[in-house]
C-alpha cells in the first residue's frame, strides 16, 4: 500500500527540472526520434534550465553518482 501520510506536493521547479531533464529513460539514436529538430528541443529546454538556474543561482555538485544502499 502506498504511504497514506502527508504528501509533499509543493513543487520546486528546480527539483522538477533536475528530474525531468537529467533523469528518466533516455532514447538515443537518430532514427527513433524522427523529428529533425529534436536535438533542438533539448537546446530549447536548455535555455529554460539556464534561466531557471540563473534565477536560483544554482551551484552544481560533481556529476550525479548512484549508490546502492
Amino acid at each position: 500500500m502506498p504511504y497514506e501520510g502527508p504528501r509533499h506536493q509543493e513543487l520546486a521547479l528546480s527539483d522538477l527540472l533536475d528530474r525531468i531533464l537529467h533523469k528518466g529513460i533516455v532514447i538515443s539514436g537518430e532514427a527513433t526520434i524522427t523529428l529533425a529538430g529534436v536535438d533542438l528541443v533539448y537546446i530549447g529546454l536548455q535555455v529554460l534550465i539556464t534561466s531557471v538556474e540563473n534565477v536560483n543561482k544554482t551551484p552544481e555538485t560533481d556529476s550525479d553518482r548512484m549508490e546502492k544502499s
Binding site: H8, D18, R19, H22, I27, T32, G44, P59, D64
Partner: protein
C-alpha cells in the same frame, strides 16, 4: 493553419495489462496540442503516449523557446507521469521523446524489452522520495559545532594574543572553525544515511539547488533521492522526523519532497535502430 501528421509523444513505460483511467481532454500549449494520453501495448509492456498535433511549419523547438510554454510542457509531462504513477509502476521518459509513428516506438520497446522489464521490476511497489538537507551555519556555530581540541587550544591562544597578533591568528582560527563545521555536517549526514537507508532500496545523490525553504537555511548540504518501498514509507518519514527533532537545534533541516514518479531510478538508456524508419 493545416496540421502536420501527428507525432507520438512518449511519457513513460509500464507493464501491460492494467488499463489507465482517463486523464482529461487534450492539452493545448501555444500552437501545440497534446491529445489525451493513451497506451500502446507491446508484448508485456505498455507505453503511455499521446498524439502531438502541430500546425505545418511549426517546430517544437520554436514552441519551447518561449519560457512560459516550455514550462507548461515540463509541467504537463510531469502531470501525466504523476497521474500514471498513481495507478501503476511507470518508468518515466526524459522530457522530449518524440516519435514519428507507432512503428518506431514499437521498435524501441522491442529492442529494449529486457532492460525495461528489469527496470520496472526495480521500481515496482516503491516510490521516489527526495530528502534535501539544509544547514544554518550561524545556528550550527551557536549550538551544534563544538570546538575540536585543536580549535579550542588555538582559540585560547587567540584570546590571549596582543591586538596586532590577534589579526593574524584570526584567519587561522576561522579556518579551524570551518573545518569543525565541515566535520559536524559530515557527521550529521552520515547519521542521516544510517537512519534512512534501512528503509530505502536505493539512493541517488543529486545536484544542489538554492531553493532554500527559509532565509537562514540558505545552504543546501545534501540532496538525495531514495527509492522507498510502500511498506517502508511510514518508517522513512518517521526517520526523517526523528532527524529533524534531533538536529533541528543544531541548525539542520531535513526537507522531504515527493512522492515522485521514479525519475531518478529509471536509468535505462535505449538505443534506437537507425533502420526503424
Amino acid at each position: 493553419m493545416p496540421l502536420a501528421d501527428p507525432l507520438l509523444y512518449l511519457f513513460g513505460i509500464a507493464r501491460a495489462g492494467k488499463q489507465l483511467k482517463s486523464l482529461e481532454a487534450a492539452k493545448s500549449i501555444g500552437p501545440v496540442e497534446f491529445a489525451p494520453p493513451r497506451n500502446i501495448a507491446s508484448g508485456n509492456l505498455q507505453a503511455v503516449v499521446c498524439d502531438l498535433h502541430m500546425p505545418e511549419g511549426v517546430e517544437l523547438d520554436t514552441v519551447l523557446q518561449d519560457p512560459s510554454q516550455a514550462e507548461a510542457v515540463v509541467l504537463y509531462h510531469h502531470r501525466v507521469l504523476e497521474w500514471a504513477a498513481d495507478q501503476l509502476a511507470i518508468l518515466p521518459l526524459r522530457l522530449g521523446a518524440v516519435f514519428s509513428n507507432e512503428r518506431c516506438l514499437q521498435q524501441v520497446l522491442k529492442e529494449g524489452h529486457a532492460q525495461l522489464q528489469q527496470a520496472i521490476e526495480k521500481i515496482e511497489g516503491a516510490a521516489e522520495w527526495g530528502v534535501k538537507v539544509y544547514c544554518d551555519r550561524t545556528q550550527l556555530r551557536k549550538n551544534g559545532c563544538i570546538d575540536s581540541a585543536e580549535t579550542a587550544s588555538f582559540r585560547a591562544k587567540h584570546e590571549c594574543a596582543s591586538d596586532g597578533k590577534k589579526f593574524f591568528l584570526l584567519r587561522q582560527l576561522q579556518k579551524l572553525i570551518e573545518k569543525d563545521e565541515a566535520e559536524a555536517i559530515t557527521q550529521c549526514l552520515n547519521d542521516a544515511l544510517t537512519q534512512i537507508t534501512p528503509f530505502a532500496k536505493q539512493r541517488i545523490t543529486g545536484k544542489f539547488h538554492a531553493n532554500a525553504p527559509t532565509e537562514s537555511m540558505a545552504e543546501m548540504v545534501s540532496n538525495d533521492a531514495f527509492l522507498i518501498e510502500f511498506e517502508h514509507e511510514k518508517g522513512f518519514h518517521e526517520a526523517v522526523e526523528k532527524l529533524n527533532a534531533g538536529y533541528g537545534s543544531s541548525g539542520f533541516l531535513f526537507h522531504v519532497t515527493g512522492p515522485w514518479p521514479s525519475y531518478s531510478f529509471a536509468t535505462v538508456n535505449l538505443i534506437g535502430d537507425e533502420n526503424a524508419l
